[in-house]
């Protein structure tokens, strides 16, 4: 592919002195070479670090290879896949993941859009308010997870302390089956509401003001204006944010790892976390690879939907 053209292209003087049709041709050729030389290093890195590992995982997914046992990998066909798809454990993790993704994304969207709407109606202090609201999003999941773990601690956590001073009972947030998943959703919502807010705000501020002015001349009700002007214009951008968050939530791992480690029991084990357990605690590399490939397929479908939609939006 690489022609190694760009580094040896002609000097300025030569181009200037050449006859008109010739430089056009040679320039086009060198453009081609330049494009290849500029793009291929980045693509090579991606091929080596993203595509190749996935292909390797694809290969391993058809074997019974184990990273610790070593030894030769025996071909087992689709055995790993059928085992995973038929496994009740996996079904349960899928359900947990679904509850988590839907719960967190819905909460974030409602809250994020609400905050953005409120901020967009303010005239003063918008910038400062936005900046303040964005802080949680910029923190590392490690910091967020650790800190909420401290705040939700059953004994000395500040959340229970506040509940206590309100005369309410103590809740074992992270150590009860029911509340653990809820806590996970709440923490993720806390961190990512600003994301939705930021994008919704970008959409809200882009709505042309004359539309509202026209509507208020017509004495349209506020709800009517919201429904017929604000929502339709912000919705495409909001959907982008929601899809983005959906993909991110689906592949989430670090927050679960820090906050609950999948516990208590398996109540907060998402698919990502389960893959980790199969791969690094169960050492069933083959099975884990098949599991991972299945997850990748889901992500690819979701990403395709997202990118298609993004593309449509950019062209439309």
């Amino acid at each position: 592919m690489s022609d190694a053209v760009p580094l040896t292209t002609d000097h300025p003087g030569q181009v200037a002195s050449a006859t008109p049709p010739a430089p056009g041709r040679s320039r086009r050729l060198s453009d081609r070479g330049l494009a290849v030389a500029f793009i291929s290093p980045a693509l090579l890195l991606l091929l080596a670090m993203s595509v190749f590992p996935l292909l390797w995982a694809l290969y391993l997914s058809f074997t019974d290879y184990s990273a610790t046992r070593g030894g030769p990998a025996n071909f087992v066909g689709f055995g790993n896949y059928t085992a995973i798809l038929a496994s009740a454990q996996v079904h349960q993790r899928a359900l947990t993941t679904l509850i988590y993704v839907v719960g967190a994304v819905v909460l974030q969207t409602v809250l994020g859009f609400g905050i953005a709407y409120l901020i967009s109606r303010r005239t003063r202090g918008r910038g400062a308010l936005t900046t303040l609201f964005l802080v949680p999003m910029m923190l590392s999941p490690v910091v967020v997870g650790l800190f909420w773990r401290f705040m939700l601690d059953a004994q000395f956590g500040v959340v229970n302390s506040m509940l206590g001073s309100l005369g309410l009972g103590q809740v074992e947030w992270l150590t009860r089956q029911r509340t653990a998943l809820l806590s996970l959703i709440v923490v993720d919502t806390w961190q990512w509401t600003p994301f939705i807010m930021l994008i919704a705000l970008a959409g809200l501020t882009a709505v042309p003001k004359y539309l509202y002015e026209a509507a208020s001349i017509d004495r349209a009700s506020e709800w009517f204006r919201f429904r017929t002007i604000t929502l339709p214009l912000v919705w495409p951008l909001l959907l982008i944010a929601v899809m983005f968050r959906g993909i991110e939530a689906f592949r989430l791992f670090d927050l679960v790892y820090i906050l609950t480690s999948g516990g208590p029991g398996v109540s907060t084990e998402t698919l990502s976390f389960h893959v980790y357990k199969v791969a690094f605690l169960g050492f069933n590399t083959g099975t884990a690879s098949a599991y991972g490939i299945l997850m990748v397929l889901v992500v690819i479908v979701l990403t395709q939907l997202y990118l298609r939609y993004l593309n449509k939006l950019k062209e439309g």
């Binding site: 760009p6 292209t9 494009a35 500029f38 793009i39 980045a42 890195l45 080596a48 670090m49 595509v51 590992p53 996935l54 390797w56 990273a67 709407y117 109606r121 303010r122 005239t123 900046t131 303040l132 609201f133 964005l134 802080v135 910029m138 923190l139 590392s140 490690v142 910091v143 997870g145 650790l146 800190f147 909420w148 401290f150 004994q155 000395f156 500040v158 509401t193 600003p194 930021l198 809200l204 002015e213 009700s221 506020e222 919201f226 604000t230 982008i240 944010a241 983005f244 689906f250 592949r251 790892y257 976390f273 791969a279 991972g292 997850m295 990748v296 992500v299 690819i300 990403t303 593309n311």
Partner: protein
């Protein structure tokens, strides 16, 4: 988000209504909205404030029941513990911070050096199946890290990159290249190609035109993009915890996470380490606040 009622005149979403109209129309509701915003802001910021507060609290006050919001003993011991080991000398955490600086810095540099030219090429030239290539590039970024880490782990074990900074740098660079390309392509698109055409009419080659005319105009964009890449690598946890193990390679996120897990956890130290860890990110994020929308959507959404 139902907007409750229809009020007399306009307190419409359009922000530049006359104060008079606002005062007449929805003073009460405007007040309610402000109150709601304040409550939400407090809820969103409380954990951050609580973290900062915990980091400067005396150990006794950290575990106080009920929690002490005010009137605690202020101490800087936790911050000292972050950097200084109990017996004197550098603490493991401070080494981890240094590793984080190196890994995040070098991987960002690598991603920038690889990504910016690629972005320029994608923006300027007609590349075969350009859209497909760009989408493919972005979709690699969405791969679940836990899934990718398994084959990467095996691959690194083969070539001896397990538990090495270079291994981390490579994977972070690969992680940031898609972002850099997408983000930078937007910036390059904003620079008219005519500048390069004009330079080439003056006798410069395409490469020289890029180097002398386009690149200087891209510097602010490159800076913003690099800052985001820096933040992503700085905050990254999954690859760091699975691909490194020794103290002199391990970056800050797994090191901080390693502070818990024993029978007792020194939450004051965790808080102080978290503050030290998060502070640069917040400063950097503030610097690139203009580009946040593009940054957090990996360059996909631009406004």
């Amino acid at each position: 988000m139902a907007v409750s009622v229809d009020e007399a005149v306009s307190t419409g979403p359009a922000p530049d209504h006359t104060p008079a109209a606002r005062r007449l129309g929805g003073r009460g509701r405007s007040g309610l909205e402000v109150a709601l915003l304040i409550v939400l802001a407090v809820v969103m910021l409380f954990p951050v404030l609580w973290m900062i507060e915990t980091s400067i609290k005396d150990n006794r006050d950290v575990y106080a029941i009920p929690a002490k919001f005010f009137g605690f003993n202020v101490t800087m011991d936790h911050f000292r513990d972050v950097f200084v080991a109990p017996g004197g000398g550098r603490s493991a955490l401070s080494v981890a911070f240094l590793n984080s600086v190196v890994v995040a810095g070098v991987s960002t540099l690598l991603a920038t050096v690889l990504g910016v030219p690629a972005a320029w090429a994608y923006s300027r030239f007609s590349v075969r199946a350009k859209k497909d290539q760009l989408f493919f590039i972005l979709s690699t970024r969405f791969m679940p890290p836990v899934v990718v880490v398994v084959p990467i782990f095996l691959m690194y074990r083969q070539v001896g990159l397990i538990d090495s900074k270079i291994g981390l740098i490579l994977i972070y660079a690969a992680f940031n290249v898609p972002f850099t390309i997408w983000m930078m392509k937007g910036f390059v698109d904003e620079v008219p190609a005519e500048y390069e055409d004009a330079a080439m009419l003056d006798g410069y080659t395409r490469l020289q035109a890029f180097w002398r005319y386009t690149l200087p105009l891209l510097v602010p964009g490159i800076a913003a993009t690099a800052v985001f890449a820096l933040i992503f690598s700085w905050n990254e946890f999954v690859f760091a915890i699975f691909l490194t193990s020794s103290d002199d390679v391990r970056t800050a996120p797994p090191a901080i996470a390693g502070l818990i897990g024993g029978t007792t956890t020194d939450w004051g130290l965790v808080a102080a380490a978290s503050v030290v860890f998060a502070l640069p990110v917040l400063v950097f994020a503030y610097l690139v606040r203009k580009h946040l929308v593009a940054g957090v959507t990996l360059g996909a959404v631009r406004r």
